[in-house]
């Protein structure tokens, strides 16, 4: 009996460790402040009350560049309804970042995270990474990479969070 229960306990430990690896709880987004391309500092916590989308990207990341026109459209569509789309650029070279912002005609604020401090804070594990945060500052959606059609999910999720 003792041996049997120890086996059962071990199975439970394995099962739970795998289960808790999958993030099922709603987490508040960590707060941070970064300088933006307009020159001013922007703090995440001050965006409460709006739906916030953070898009981690870099000039050298091809899918990030492909995604940009879709993000521009998304920002245009929803920003008047309480939606803040902010790009977080992780280029080490600010010149490369600015060149990319111009080439891609980025129509929303871009924050500079050149030492990847905020990327690490969020444990970004894919490029691009798109995080959607609700009006209370909780992370509700997390998208890794960019594939054709993702922009439709973004629009749906943003619209739904605006309505909340």
């Amino acid at each position: 009996m003792k041996q049997f229960s120890s086996i059962v306990i071990r199975i439970f430990i394995i099962a739970f460790s795998v289960y808790s690896y999958a993030d099922t709880e709603v987490m508040p987004a960590p707060d941070f402040t970064l300088k933006s391309n307009s020159g001013s500092n922007i703090r995440l916590a001050e965006q409460r009350g709006n739906v916030v989308m953070l898009n981690f990207w870099a000039s050298w990341c091809a899918p990030c560049r492909q995604e940009m026109p879709h993000l521009n459209a998304l920002s245009q569509q929803y920003s008047a309804l309480g939606f803040n789309l902010m790009g977080i650029n992780v280029d080490e070279d600010p010149q490369a970042a600015n060149r990319a912002i111009n080439n891609l005609k980025v129509a929303f604020p871009v924050l500079f995270d050149s030492d990847s401090r905020i990327a690490e804070l969020f444990s970004v594990d894919a490029m691009p990474t798109t995080i959607i945060i609700d009006k209370d500052g909780n992370i509700r959606h997390w998208h890794r990479g960019y594939q054709a059609g993702y922009e439709d999910s973004y629009a749906e999720q943003v619209a739904q969070l605006i309505r909340e």
Partner: protein
């Protein structure tokens, strides 16, 4: 019985440790790897040609290509 327990114990450790060997070069640290100077076949039209010039004169053939390890995006 003892063997089964030991096996389960080892599997449990493996399961936990496998979860902890994470990719050590973060996606946002791959700028240099994405630089085109790192690519062998930066211009396929030209590199294909030089492979062809060599293959036409050498007995060796094969194992030329298939890259990877670029920006790590997506």
């Amino acid at each position: 019985m003892k063997k089964i327990i030991t096996l389960l114990f080892i599997l449990q450790l493996l399961a936990l440790s496998a979860c902890s060997v994470k990719p050590w070069v973060k996606p946002y640290h791959r700028a240099k790897l994405a630089n085109e100077v790192m690519q062998y076949d930066r211009d396929p039209i030209s590199d294909g040609y030089i492979h062809h010039v060599r293959q036409a004169r050498e007995s060796a053939r094969g194992a030329e290509g298939a890259g990877g390890g670029g920006c790590g995006c997506n």
